[in-house]
Symmetry: C4
Subunit: 132 residues, 4 copies
C-alpha cells in the first residue's frame, strides 16, 4: 500500500481539560492526536505547539512505525516542555512522509463526560522537500 495523506497538518482548538474523573489512563481528560502512517518507512514527526500569550514550543519529536497508527496525548508530551492543562493551544504537525491526522478530545470531568473529534487541517503543499 502506498503512502497516503499529507506532510503538514495543523489544529487550532487545543485545550486540555483540567478535571478528570474515573480510572486512569482510560478516563483521563486529554487532547489527542491520532497519526496514521501507511507508508513503508517510519514517519518522523515534529510538533510545534502555539499558545495565546507566549512563544511557540517545539519541536516535540516522535516516530510512527511503518504501517502503524499512533495515538499521542498532548498530556504525555514531556520534552522540551510538558504542555499546561486548561490553556488554549494550537499545533502544527510536520512529517517526513505523508500521514493522516485526526484530533480528539475527551473531557472526563467530574460533572459529565463529553468528547469531540475533528479532522486536522491538511495543508495542500506543492512539492515540498523531504525534511531531514
Amino acid at each position: 500500500m502506498q503512502a497516503l495523506g499529507k506532510r503538514r497538518w495543523a489544529m487550532a482548538g487545543g485545550h486540555i481539560p483540567l478535571e478528570s474523573n474515573g480510572p486512569e489512563p482510560e478516563f483521563t481528560s486529554r487532547d489527542e492526536l491520532s497519526v496514521l502512517n501507511c507508508s513503508d518507512t517510519a514517519a518522523r514527526i515534529r510538533i510545534h505547539i502555539h499558545y495565546a500569550d507566549r512563544p511557540a514550543v517545539g519541536p516535540y519529536e516522535l516516530e510512527i512505525a511503518a504501517k502503524r497508527v499512533r495515538h499521542i496525548r498532548f498530556n504525555d508530551l514531556i520534552f522540551p516542555e510538558a504542555p499546561p492543562l486548561d490553556e488554549p493551544f494550537g499545533a502544527v504537525i510536520d512529517a517526513d512522509v505523508p500521514v493522516v491526522v485526526q484530533f480528539t478530545r475527551l473531557d472526563g470531568g467530574t460533572r459529565a463526560r463529553s468528547a469531540v473529534a475533528t479532522a486536522a487541517y491538511p495543508e495542500r503543499t506543492s512539492s515540498r522537500r523531504r525534511p531531514r
Copy 2:
C-alpha cells in the same frame, strides 16, 4: 445522479470503547464507518485496519448497493479477524467507485454517554485505475 466522492479514504482515530450500557444494539459502544454510494453500480470496498503494535489486518470486503448508504460497525467485522476493543487503530478504505465516508463513535459506557463524528480523510488521487 452521477457518482460522487472519492475512491480512497482514511481515518486515524479509531478506538472501540470497552464498556457498553443499555439495550443492544442501539446503545452498544462502537466505532462506525458510514459509506454513501450515489453511483449506479454496487460499490465494493476493502478496509485495511492499522494498529499501533502489530501488522495491518485486511482486507475486510463489503459491498454497498447502488444508490444506497451503509453504516458499518467495526465491532461487527469478523473476517479475516474481529477487531479488538479498547485498542487504537486507523483504517484505510478503498472503493471501486467514488463514495463518501464519515466516521462516528458512540461511547455508551456505564458512566456517561459521549459521541464524536468527523469526516474521514479523502485522498485526492489523480486518475487511479479501477481495482478489480
Copy 3:
C-alpha cells in the same frame, strides 16, 4: 460579499435518534443540516435522502434567502415523505449557488445527551452548470 462554498455536498452518517427527552423543540433529538448562503440571491437547494434498503427519496426542495443561514432538521421534512426515525441514511445536497453545509446531531434521549458535528463533504466540481 461574494458567494462562497460549493454547489454540491454529501453526508453519509445520518440517523435520527428515536428517543427525546425535555421540552420541545429545543431538546428534540434530531439530525440537522446547516446551510449558509453568502451570495446575493436566494439559494434553492434540493436534498436527496439515501437509505440502506430502499430507493432514494427526493428531491426535498428548500430555499435559503440571500445572505442568510438556515438550519434544517431532517425531522421536519414532510414532502415528498417524512424521513423515518432510527434508520441509517445519507443525503446529497444540490444548490443553484455556492453554499456552505454543516451536519449536526443532537441526541437528547432519556439516558444522556450527546452531540456530534462534522463538515459535510464538499464535492469539488469543475464548471457545473447552474441547475434550473
Copy 4:
C-alpha cells in the same frame, strides 16, 4: 515557520446554547472559533455573522498576534453587536494572512453536557489580494 492555512473560512452551524451550569467562564455554554496564526505578522480578522431572519452583522474585528493561537467565544463579541443566544447563525471569517480555523461548541446546560467540534470550511481561493 511559514504561514499556513487559508484567508477565508466559513461555518454554518452556529447556535449559542441558552442555558449554562457550573462556574463561569469555564462551564459557560458557548460557540467558539479557534484561530491559529503561524505567520510572522499579526493576523487581522474580520468576522461577519449571518442570521436566519435578519441582515448579516459585521465586521467584528480582531487580531491574532504572530505565531499565536486565539480562542474567540461568540458570546464575548460586543461591537458592533452582541450575538444573541439560542438563535441559528453562520459566520464568515476573513484574514489578511493565512490562518487555520476550528469551530467548537460546549453545551453546558443544566441537564447534561455535550460538545461538538468541526473544521470550519476553508474556501480555496486563487490569488486573492491582501485586504487592508
